[in-house]
């Protein structure tokens, strides 16, 4: 086998709510802001639709990171959905932390106008996770 090492790109799945974060991502698109290609979004009506089981599944089936994006607390279109999201994600993050996988799962509040915040958040997440991927790849070879 050739020894040539192909750099693996991190893959991140994002669950984004229709009313805020998805809108922000649309706006980031129309403003031609750039963010890493490894980030792929699944649109859900409300961040509270995100069953942590999805996140667990995604992580164990190959995603290097997963994030959930919702409206800022108090701004939820469904009045209190994101308060539940916050609880679920707080617990889930604690669980991943218990298995030394802190940072793989994140929660972002991004409003519809905050295209730049969206970019900043996902790019920072991607870069950190890519660094870890590189580190691990390094270890393996």
């Amino acid at each position: 086998m050739p020894e040539e090492k192909i750099k693996r790109n991190a893959e991140i799945v994002g669950f984004v709510c229709t009313y805020c974060t998805f809108k922000a991502s649309e706006m980031a698109g129309s403003l031609r802001m750039k963010y890493p290609e490894g980030i792929r979004l699944i649109q859900v009506p409300c961040s509270s639709r995100v069953d942590p089981a999805f996140i667990i599944k995604a992580i164990f089936e190959g995603a290097d990171g997963v994030f959930v994006g919702g409206c800022h607390p108090g701004d939820c279109h469904f009045i209190k959905g994101n308060f539940y999201t916050r609880r679920k994600m707080a617990a889930l993050k604690e669980m991943f932390d218990a298995f030394s996988m802190k940072g793989k799962v994140r929660l972002f509040w991004v409003s519809a106008a905050e295209a730049r915040r969206f970019i900043e958040k996902v790019t920072a997440m991607y870069n950190e996770i890519q660094d870890k991927v590189d580190e691990n790849e390094g270890k393996k070879s």
Partner: protein, 557 residues
Amino acid sequence: MKIGVFVCHCGHNIKHTVNVKRLGDFFKSFPNVVVSEDYPFVCSEPGQDMIKDSIEKYGLDRVVIASCTPSLHGDLFKDLLKKSNLNPFYLRRVSIREHCSWVGDDLEKNSEKAKRLITAGIYGSCHQVPLEEKRVDVTKSALIIGGGVSGLSAALFLSNMGMQVYVAEKEAFLGGQVGKLKNVWPSLKSGSDIIEAMVGELKSRDNVEIYTSTVLKSFEGFFGNYEAVLAGPQGEKKIIIGGVIVSIGFSLFDARLKPELNYGKDERIITTVDFENKFESLNLPEKPRVAILHCVGSRDEQIGKAYCSRICCINSLRVANAVKDKFKDSYVESFYIDMRSHPKGGEEYYEDTQAKGALFTRSNIAEITSGENAIIIRGEDTLLSEPFEREFDLAVLSIGMSNPVDSRDLATLLKITLDKDKFFLEAHIKLRPFDTAVKGILIAGACSGPKDTEESINHGRSAALKLFGFLNLGWAYLDPFISYVNPRRCSGCRMCEHACFSNAIKYDEETRVVHVEEAACQGCGLCNATCPSSAIGLKGYIDSIIDDEINGFLMTV
């Protein structure tokens, strides 16, 4: 399953950084995909024709369009599917413009990303089922709780529009607080005239039933078909209504809660309401010295009323004017924190009152004590930073608005929420000020926070219009994206019921499973994510769709 995949170039917009040709070719050999094409502008007429032709030619039952973001081109493609006799919910849009070609520069990486996005779309589309916009019957009638000015405005509107209206008023008479006013600022019409005109008109209509001295006893059901029991002097009455408008107004602040003001102990210390009722009969000297205290029961955290009551500054001005008009040589001094002469014209009124010689002192009042010949007010002038002590013949306390007394009970009965000050909570303070989280239950007027007459009327009518919009056809379309329960899977743990903000989930004690009141569901999917066995699912976003989307994203090359 026959899936058609259509990859749009969007001219250069997508093509520039995504290898659309390769994508189109790639999906040709994809399982279940029978046609896969790339096209310069899928949204153009020839583009749409191409899709339509493909649907007919290949008998497609899923259409995946990879183009701009789904929010663009609204219903264009949905209509296209309809025209092609395909359920529009078999459409899947994949955004490869806003979420791919525009946000990345690298052609190879973008193409790879687009490939995954489309794969996810195809995977997800396999689980899509045809949905329909269901119709439910609703009762064209409304219950209005509270017969004040906003409730009456609502009743007038709804009855005028031909709906059956029930008005339940706790008191023996209609009109609420406005009815008690001698003159309503700024129109200066008498409150009772305003109310009488409204009540007279209501009574002349045969689709209005008014119940005074009546309260809501029980409340069941869901949007469009609520069942309420009213309890009044004639006994109980069960009514079926499509929706409810809560307009129970406010209660007056009880000035006794501020003992330092000595209200109720000295008859020279009265409230603005007292003044309204008995100014004419007051025994005042020739040149009365009248003090007016603002913000009694408002802007006062110590008594738990941090909010501004909005109307009391105008009430104070009205008192000052009345005194000045009657006693030209009176000494009138208003003690205020900020002058909030609120509605239109208020500022001018304030100026005019000053011109009449009323004094305004920015101050904090410490106490009112009773002297033999006068009452004594002690406080601090906050402009001069000096304490003062002044004698007056009369002190008028401009009392604020407190939450309606039975807000808590009513909230529990209707399963709606209260805010921190125990007024009713709006669904969205800015944009949905009449809605509650529960569909078909609306709030109007001062019961959701201090409001003046004009605003209460606005509220009453607006809420009524909203309800009318819900009910006027006698039926309503349901959003197709609502939850449904698989009763065989449901364990009846009621977690979803607890979490649901719109009270759309009901537990059946007999079968020990829950079901969704479709008319009430607003489609957030929280229940779906809360249920550990996925016995409840949100149509259009069911677990298997999202799961397979994840699979698509993570597809190995």
